[in-house]
Structures are given as C-alpha cells and as structure tokens.
Subunit: 463 residues, 2 copies
C-alpha cells in the first residue's frame, strides 16, 4: 500500500479560515463512564485491602501471578544489571542526557526554587521556606510506550529538588495477557521488562520499584499498602485508567497534569532547510495518530517545499503509517500574512512544542506568550529537547500552556510562608487586622490581634 | 444554655495515643453523587446555551431575575460607591492590608518568579520565560462566608503577576430565596450585596464582575459565554457545588486547591500568655464547626492554664457556640515528651497554620517540614497573617501542605522552556538524542537530530 501524508493546507486570508482552523484544532478527551466506575472500584478496593487487592488486579490485568508483593519488587541489582547489559553507546547516551537534564534543573532550582526572607524596618520577618516533598511516585507505562527518557525527565527534577525517596511503578504484563484478558494460564511466567527503563532507573536514581500498573498501582502509591509506601505526589504518563485514577486521588496526593496528545507547532520564515522541518513535523506525528503537527509560514513556496519533503521522506520512515494518519487527520500547513500573524495564531493554540525556525528567532520570541517549550533557531530540533538539551520534556498539552508549565523542580517542592511579627510590628498590624476581622464578624480573630497590643482595647460586640 | 469547650486531652506517652490521635485527625470530604450529577448537568448546559442557561440558574437558585447578563454585571462605579460608603477606619484598613499584601507578593515575584537563561560554552542557550496568565476568574462566595480579605488575597497576587484581566463572580441571592427554593416571587428584587466585598474589589482592582454563583458561574468562566469572558484559571473558595464544578473544569482551565476545613496547630513551650494561645485556638474554631485547633506542648501545667483561659473566655465570644462545637469535636491539647516530639507530630499533620509560640522560635523552625504558613513567636498571631502581615492566607488544608503551597504569584504565572541550540551544540546533542531515540523506536526523532549533524549518517532501521 502506498501511503501519502497531506496535512490540511489552510490560508489565513480565506473566508472560511476560522472554521477550518477550529475543525483542525478540535480535540477533546472523552470521559468514559465505564472506565471511571471501574477505576473508582479498584481504588476503593486497594484502599481497603492493600497488597492483596494489588496482587489480584496484577494477576487479572497483567497475567502476572505473585504470592506476595515482595516478588513484584525490583532491586537496585536489577537496575544495575540492565544498565550493564546495554551497548556502551546507549549507556553513555543515557548518562550524558541525565547529566544535562540535571544541570538544567539545578539552574532552575537556583533561579526560582530557593527560600527567601526579608525584614521590615520594625523587625518583622516575612518570606517563604522552600522544602522538597518527602516521597514521590513515578508511573512508567509498560510495553512499547515505556520511554526511558520520560523516567529521567520525571526522576531528575525530583532528585534535584531533594526528594528523599522516589518510588517507581511499571507494569510488566506477561506477553499476550492483556490482549487475551489474562486467563491465569500464564502462571509463573515472568512479565516483560523493558531493559532500557530499568537502566534509566539506575541512571536516574530510583529508590524502590514495583512491577505493578494501572489504577491499582496509582492506588497503592496514593494510599500506601503494607509493602508499597504512601507517596506525596504521583507524576508520569499512563493510559485512560491511570489518568482517571490520578484525577481521583488528587487531593490525597498531588498529581502532575493529565497529558493529551503531543503537539508541535513550527513557525518558519523559510530559512531552514525544508527537509529538516518536514522531519520535525514527522517527529511529532510518529508518536501517535492523534498527535498534531502544524506549520505556520508566510511563504507559500516554502510550504510547497515542505510538502515535497514530506512526500519524499515518508516512504523511508518505519513508522510511516502512524505519521501519515496523524498528518492527514490533524496536521496543517498554514499560510499566514506575515510572521507577526503566525505568532498571534501560535498564541491562540498555546502549543506544547513551539519551534521558531527562523534566521532571527529572537525577533519573534518576545511575541510568543503561551507555549510549553520554545525551540529557537534552525539547529534546535524539538527532538534535542525531548532527550538531552536539558529542559524537561514533560510539557503542558492541549492548550494548557495558557495556564501551566513544564514539569520542573518546583513540582517536587512546596512552600511554607514564614511570618515573625515583632512586638513593634504587632501594634499597627494588630489594629488593621482587628478592624477587618470585626468587619467580617470574626471576633476571635480580632481579639487575638488586639491581645498583642500594648494597650488592649475593650472587645467590640461582646455578649 | 451554658456552653463548654473541652478539646480532647491527649498524651503522647499513653498507650492508646496513636488511636486517639488518628481519630481526632480523621476527616474526609464526602463525595455526594447527587451533587456531582447536578453539577455535570449545569456545566453541560452552560457550555451549550451560555448566557441563557446562566440566567435561568441564577433565577432558580438565587431568586434573582434578570432579562440579560448585562443586568448582572457590576460596574467600577459600584465598587467605588461601596468603598466610599465605608467608615474611614475600614477604608484605611483595607488599603493598608492590600498594600502590605502587594509588597510581600512583589518580593515573592522577585525571589522566584522571574525569567532566567544561561548559555553553555558552545553558545547553546537554556532557560525559562515566565509570563502571566492572560485572564483569571475569582470566585467569591455570597452571603456570610464572603470575606473581603479573601478577595484581596486572590486578586493582589494575580495583579502582581501581571494578569491582564481579573473577572470576579459573586452570587447575590435574594434574601430567603435559597432557603425557600427561589419561587420566582422575588422578581425584580435586588440580590443581597456585600458592600465590604465590593469595596475590596475596588481596592484589589477587579476588572469586571458578575453577580452569579454556583456551578453556573464556574461554567461561565471556564467556557465563556457571550457576556462572560472565558478565563485561563479559576481561584477562590466556594461550597460543594463550586468545588465539584472546579474539579470538573480542571484541564479546560487551571484551578487552585480545593480547600477543606481550616486548621491551626500551636507548638507552645509555655512562654506565651495562655490567654493569647486560647484566643488563637478560638480564632480557628470560630470559622466553622469542622475547623480544627490543636495545641502541642511538653508542659502539662501550661495545657491546664490554656484550658482555664478557654473556660474563662468562651462566654465572652459572640460565636461561642461554633467555637465550642469545633473544640469539643475536633480540638486537642496534646502533651508531648518535648518540643522535638511536638515538631515531629506537627510534620505528620502538615497543618495549614502553624504557630511556633516559643521564646526561641528559630530553634524549632528548621525542624518543621510541612505547613502552609509558619507563625514565629508570641506576637505573631495567626490572625495577623489572615489579614495584613503580607503573606497569602489561602493555604493548603487537610495535610496537603505535604505537597502544595500557599496561593502566590506563581499561581498566576506559567513558564515556557527556552532552548536555542547552537550549530556547535547540535553536534554532541544530536548524537545523544539519536542514540536514545533509536533505542525508543522513534526514528523520526533520531533523524531530526541527525539532519543537523555536519556529517549526516545513514538512517538506522530504514525500510
């Protein structure tokens, strides 16, 4: 079968542009009520029965039989063996990537994650103390979607923040058990482990790890069991069951954003080789048929050139079928009036990944308000950011860059306000607080402030 | 009726301490499925029908009839009139409080909310750009629970962050309409406005405001209507309907934490007048019968003294009934072995408000890991922090201080990673990225990196 990939060709001057643009962008996560109910049941069961429930669900869903949770725990020796078993080039690449990611997040911590205080003239101290979370859980999907780079991107900022313990969960389903429904016939079979993920656990410094997954793993982390320690926050991607479970345990623990399909938006002024930009669009499209690749450019001939490169390169790609479906269904090459308009459209989309493929990227960067990550200049392919440039690759999707941020050290820290009011400071502050508290009808608040005054006035509104 | 308030008297050396402690702390937000379903229906309806649906729900739930949303919009003149109508002392207190809150949050922005970048030796630029949200919504509860101080605490950090527009919603139910079910008999009646809240809107700088509330107001802000602009984030407290609606729109917009009952924990070494500490416990208890006030102290005689002050002061308090119920049901005076143990117990609770009522508070502060706000020394009553010390009074409750932070400027900003890889930098990074991308089976990712290499190698795994 001969594949072709034809992203929609839009033009901002066309009368139907808005409608076509809206149709291309439309995506909404369906809520599946059956999944929601099953997840609620699993969470309740694990909360109540702990390890026993986790073992049952792991046998049922992953076809992995174990007599105790201890059998499902991976060891540091497992991580080391996986790492040692890799080809030298992969070992070095993993370590270089982790080193660069660590160095970036250390800069991030220094720039925005340190405690601070100041004193008023009257001696009153104000500030914030920044402290790491005690223990976090990282969910790593099983099977093909298990990316060692994701583990590094989740674990390294936690480490840099100073998190004491990092607990990883990763399902290792017995081959065929999920597809077949896991009949139990696979008893004693060992689940499929992803050696690259285990090696990444070694490089990233995971404290403990369990081969469990799904809503049962999220529940174990959120509530704790006899074996799995309760964590303070759960991060990492997962399927619809995992996403639903994370939403439900939010409040008991912290969670990261629930990710939608991945997206790239390229702003091009025509100066980057069309082949490079075509491959950048592919690199997003190959993730998933729902992934979205959009190119905005004021030069129609350049859009033609990129389309020609798409046609030429597509047959060479092992994942051509996924790429073609993604580009045909969700991709777009959009002709804009100028680069300014391209920037304005990008702000409306608030893309996860934004490449400014221009010979003068710093001219456009200040116009770009909403994006997960901004890749400046022709040499900055998004894939460098995915693995090793340093910044985190866990980014807000589906327009949530309007209000949320890349995963970072700050996600593994929390802040406590610090207030030390001096005796002198308590005088004017007490008068203000009392005035407002009486206004709100909160007399004990007012009185607590007034008792610290040098001359305590009579209480207003006393019974 | 003579009231008495007897917080539970616990002792950490008692054999049943753990059980009693757990019982006192137990609190869980019930999920009411009927509320959930009604909220889902209201959200769907407002999403589809916009203003018309909002008007209908406002008539039904608040008894407030209006022919158009324009009738439900408050004006800057309304805010100004409310402010001008206040007694001078209240006007000045509001302005002083807002000024101090602003100054604290400006320091916060400077310490942790500015953009940063650095360059590698090879010229590669890395960093983060920090930008404000475009538009946020602040929910202000109607009626008695409407606190002008809350509006200041939500709006000022948004302003300091640089948010362009702040949209306030505040229900103004027609008196009796909620209790009676809102029969419509109140046609043309004006809803009950809280003048202090409107005055606070003047001081805090609200852009636009609508007298709508409940799930319908959350929906209007999250989805936008013809009249109500769609926002990027919704903050502010509300009842069970509002909390449920906020959870559901999370992802479409950002939300702040869903707050549980308010809590104070006082660590006392016995050096603060017992009367002051008793009043501080009252100031939490008076909020709500579910509020929790706990005192930890290694000195039994001091606990006795505080109990005597509770007994003496309770009859003088206008809100004595609420205080008594809160202290009787959820309060505790806990005798600890020493201050170190008191600090350890505090960390287990991760309280919203933590007073270190000690003559040497800086000795204990480093031991305190989890708390929303830490109040140091005898003069720092929690109520000063509630109104005017400067730090935010919107704090993580119910133990969520283990993983979350006070509301702050950072809640109204988001970050975009910045990456500009130089041609020189693209060489080593490209090799690392390609190695890892091939390992993950993502050939387009690998190829996008390799195309930027000076010598482009053949693609691995080509079909």
């Amino acid at each position: 079968m001969s594949l072709s990939a034809q992203p929609a060709r839009l033009n901002t001057t066309a009368s139907d542009f808005e409608a076509q643009f809206a149709a291309r962008l439309h995506w909404s996560a369906d809520t599946d009520h059956a999944i929601e109910q099953r997840v609620a049941d699993i969470l309740g069961d694990v909360k109540q029965r702990g390890d026993a429930a986790v073992l049952e669900y792991t046998a049922r869903f992953d076809g992995l039989q174990a007599a105790s949770m201890a059998e499902l725990e991976l060891t540091q020796a497992d991580f080391k063996a996986a790492f040692d078993g890799l080809p030298a080039a992969q070992r070095e690449a993993l370590q270089s990537a982790a080193r660069r990611v660590r160095s970036y997040h250390e800069a991030q911590k220094k720039a925005s994650g340190e405690s601070w205080t100041y004193r008023d003239e009257d001696g009153t101290l104000l500030g914030q103390k920044v402290t790491p979370l005690d223990r976090v859980g990282i969910y790593v999907p099983g099977g093909k979607a298990a990316y060692p780079s994701s583990l590094i991107m989740n674990a390294v900022p936690a480490h840099v923040a100073g998190v004491g313990e990092i607990i990883m969960v990763v399902p290792t389903p017995v081959r065929g058990s999920v597809a077949t429904g896991g009949t139990g016939a696979a008893t004693a079979a060992r689940g499929e482990r992803n050696e690259l993920v285990l090696a990444a656990a070694y490089v990233a410094g995971v404290t403990r790890a369990f081969t469990i997954g799904g809503a049962q793993a999220v529940a174990a982390l959120a509530y704790g069991t006899a074996t799995v320690p309760k964590v303070d926050k759960i991060t990492g991607p997962g399927n619809a069951y995992v996403a639903s479970a994370k939403r439900r345990v939010f409040g008991t623990v912290g969670i990261d954003m629930i990710a939608g399909p991945s997206e790239i938006l390229v702003l091009a002024d025509g100066s980057t080789p069309a082949e490079w930009v075509a491959m950048d669009l592919f690199s997003q499209a190959e993730h998933d048929e729902l992934a979205q690749s959009i190119l905005l450019c004021p030069d129609a001939a350049y859009l033609d050139a990129v389309q020609r490169e798409i046609d030429r390169l597509l047959p060479t790609m092992p994942r051509a079928a996924i790429i073609a479906k993604s580009l045909n269904d969700r991709g777009a090459l959009i002709l804009t009036r100028d680069m300014e308009e391209a920037c304005a459209i990008s702000n409306r989309i608030a893309p996860e990944h934004l490449e400014v493929s221009s010979s003068d990227p710093h001219r456009w960067e200040p116009l770009l308000k909403h994006a997960g990550a901004i890749f400046l200049g022709a040499y900055t392919s998004e894939s460098l950011g995915d693995y090793c440039a340093g910044p985190n690759h866990v980014l807000p999707t589906s327009g949530t860059a309007r209000f949320s941020s890349p995963l970072g050290v700050y996600d593994f820290q929390k802040r406590s306000s610090l207030i030390e009011v001096s005796q002198a400071g308590a005088q004017p502050l007490g008068a203000i607080a009392a005035e407002l508290a009486y206004g709100e009808g909160l007399q004990a608040h007012a009185r607590a402030a007034e008792l610290r005054l040098s001359t305590v006035p009579p209480m207003r509104g006393t019974k």
